[in-house]
């Protein structure tokens, strides 16, 4: 059961990632990315991280993707212009370097000791377990990251405003 779910999620995630990078229309790319994010939430569920899977769907596939789609539609971005085609070297060299990177990554991660994943008896991916860590050991980083959100909000308003 887990194996079937894993391989179908892998297929869907890789296919939608390919659509994201091969599609010329930004709207289609954005929708494929939203689908990809939902697939990754499925992986989180398989890895028993239920709370992160929920956050992934709500924050990533919900909020961030709506923001990106909103900007794509606001700017009315059409296709990537075809009258000035990208240089072939960009496409070929990019593809080649990426394939090399994928090989290096693949070989290095497959060197991880291949013990099957242990069964976690203790509650592990629940909101309670995560909250314990977040408000215990990681309390100060948590406060700093909220400051980061505030700074990003001010920065976004400053950048996008026509005139202060």
């Amino acid at each position: 059961m887990e194996t079937v779910a894993f391989y179908s999620l892998t297929f869907l995630a890789v296919a939608s990632a390919l659509v994201v990078i091969l599609q010329r229309k930004p709207v289609v790319s954005a929708l494929a990315l939203a689908f990809n994010l939902v697939c990754i939430a499925g992986f989180y569920l398989l890895l028993q991280a239920q709370f992160m899977a929920l956050l992934q769907v709500i924050v990533y596939a919900g909020a961030i993707m709506v923001l990106i789609l909103f900007v794509v539609m606001l700017l009315n971005l059409g296709d990537e212009s075809t009258e000035r085609p990208s240089r072939p070297i960009q496409r070929w060299l990019g593809g080649l370097l990426t394939a090399a990177l994928a090989l290096v990554f693949g070989f290095s991660v497959s060197a991880v000791v291949g013990a099957p994943l242990p069964d976690n008896a203790a509650p592990f991916g629940t909101a309670a377990a995560l909250g314990q860590e977040l408000f215990g050991r990681f309390f100060y980083p948590f406060e700093v990251i909220s400051l980061l959100l505030l700074v990003a909000m001010i920065g976004a308003v400053l950048l996008a405003k026509r005139r202060l």
Partner: protein, 99 residues
């Protein structure tokens, strides 16, 4: 399932994100490819967290999601500002800084 299966998926997704950044010219698609890479990293973090049976990796993923939200907000504001300035978001035409 073994952890390396998940890690290989994560590596493949990360490489696809890199390919998107290298090949695409629309600024907003490049931002989306960066999101793809961040997610591949998150998947690796969750896998390691599951391997060691602790919730630490998930806390890091929580922080990365927050960071991605901040990055998306600022990045999209930059794209809007660029569009207002140059009427395009094609990164090949945005060569103001080039001498």
């Amino acid at each position: 399932m073994n952890p390396e299966h998940y890690l290989i998926v994560s590596a493949v997704l990360f490489s696809l994100g890199v390919a998107g950044v290298l090949v695409r010219r629309q600024a907003i698609t490049i931002l989306m490819s960066i999101e793809l890479m961040l997610n591949a990293g998150n998947l690796a973090f969750i896998t390691f967290s599951r391997m060691h049976g602790t919730a630490e990796g998930q806390v890091y993923v929580f922080f990365i999601i927050t960071l991605a939200a901040a990055e998306a907000a600022v990045g999209l504001a930059i794209v809007i500002a660029l569009f207002r300035l140059r009427e395009t978001t094609d990164v090949d035409e945005l060569n103001l800084l080039r001498w």
